[in-house]
Symmetry: C2
Subunit: 207 residues, 2 copies
């Protein structure tokens, strides 16, 4: 295995490999060649081999890749062999839905609290997790060693929430607010309206 820089594009494909291998593993397939895998995922066989070789020589000449092992290796690369504590800032629609989303807890991403400024919400619980006042967030993050902060608040408070989270020691941010937030920790943006606009662009471009 040679050290090489892992590009953004490769990183974005990792979860897709992970999903496909999970599927194959579930079907009881125990080996797969780069060309089969590429075909199933709409990629190029060379690309699959290049991608995987960024992390190690998981295959075997003349045989292909062992599905179960590769699945585990990618889980490990993605950091899915440990668990994470999450908090959600903004207990509105999106915040509540994310809290209830079962897919995360299954993979070790556990929401432990929500925060809001709306007095009507504070004190309630969502799927068993309490909604607390934002003023308590900083202390809570510190005391509970929270790993990831989800921002699903109002547009104008997003940056400030991010700053508070980072200052309190959070290690990554998942931002649902359509605003470019600047922070010193890794951040992933889910900008729903951006995606919707791309869709309407495509819909109209088709004609």
């Amino acid at each position: 295995m040679k050290e090489r820089k892992v590009s953004e594009a490769v990183i974005r494909r990792l979860p897709r490999y992970y999903r496909q291998l999970e599927l194959l593993n579930g079907k009881g397939v125990d080996r797969i060649s780069s060309s089969e895998l590429a075909q199933q995922m709409g990629l190029n066989p060379s690309q699959v081999r290049q991608d995987l070789n960024c992390f190690g020589g998981f295959g075997q000449q003349g045989y292909g890749y062992p599905v179960q092992n590769l699945h585990k290796e990618i889980a490990n690369i993605l950091g899915l062999t440990r668990s994470y504590k999450l908090v959600i800032a903004g207990a509105g629609n999106i915040g509540q839905a994310l809290c209830k989303y079962e897919g995360f807890a299954q993979k070790g991403f556990e929401v432990i609290a929500l925060f809001d400024i709306n007095e009507a919400l504070i004190g309630q619980t969502i799927a068993g997790r309490p909604i607390l006042h934002v003023d308590q967030m900083s202390g809570f993050i510190r005391e509970n060693s929270v790993d990831i902060g989800i921002i699903s608040a109002r547009r104008r408070s997003a940056q400030q929430i991010a700053d508070t989270m980072v200052e309190a020691g959070i290690r990554a941010i998942w931002n649902f607010v359509p605003v470019d937030v600047t922070v010193s920790v890794p951040i992933e943006n889910i900008q729903l309206s951006d995606s919707m606009f791309v869709l309407s662009y495509r819909l109209n471009a088709q004609e």
Copy 2:
């Protein structure tokens, strides 16, 4: 203006330009140079000019770009000058949250109904929109000339729902299910777990 192929990367930047220009317009800024805009958005000035020139010569030498006009032009390119009818297949957590999300209606994306197979949900309304049985979806899409279908159902039914939607004449699909759905119309995927996995990768890669 020369005809040139608009790449995926350019399309993904369009909503960001749109957002930034909206912000500037709101602040009463009436002109901006490619270098200022680039700096605000973390891009390269050349890139900004190249991107915009895919669609027209909106700028003026020695002056820059007129903010309000450019904002309108991009709205038009993105297809935001008309409205769209949407339906949601899968009225669980995510489906309901999307239905309640106010950002869309403001931009002309109107959810008119939700569909589910859960009898306990059917007959309820979410933010004033009815939850109907999936069996009625095909007819409903046809009768109401629905433009966009949102899929927020169970993993195993995603492909079938997509097929039904396309067959009924839907023109674009917004998919929230972590499965690679194959369709003949434009599709945008929001794969929450993929994004979360990229985040956990980055969190661990930092160390």
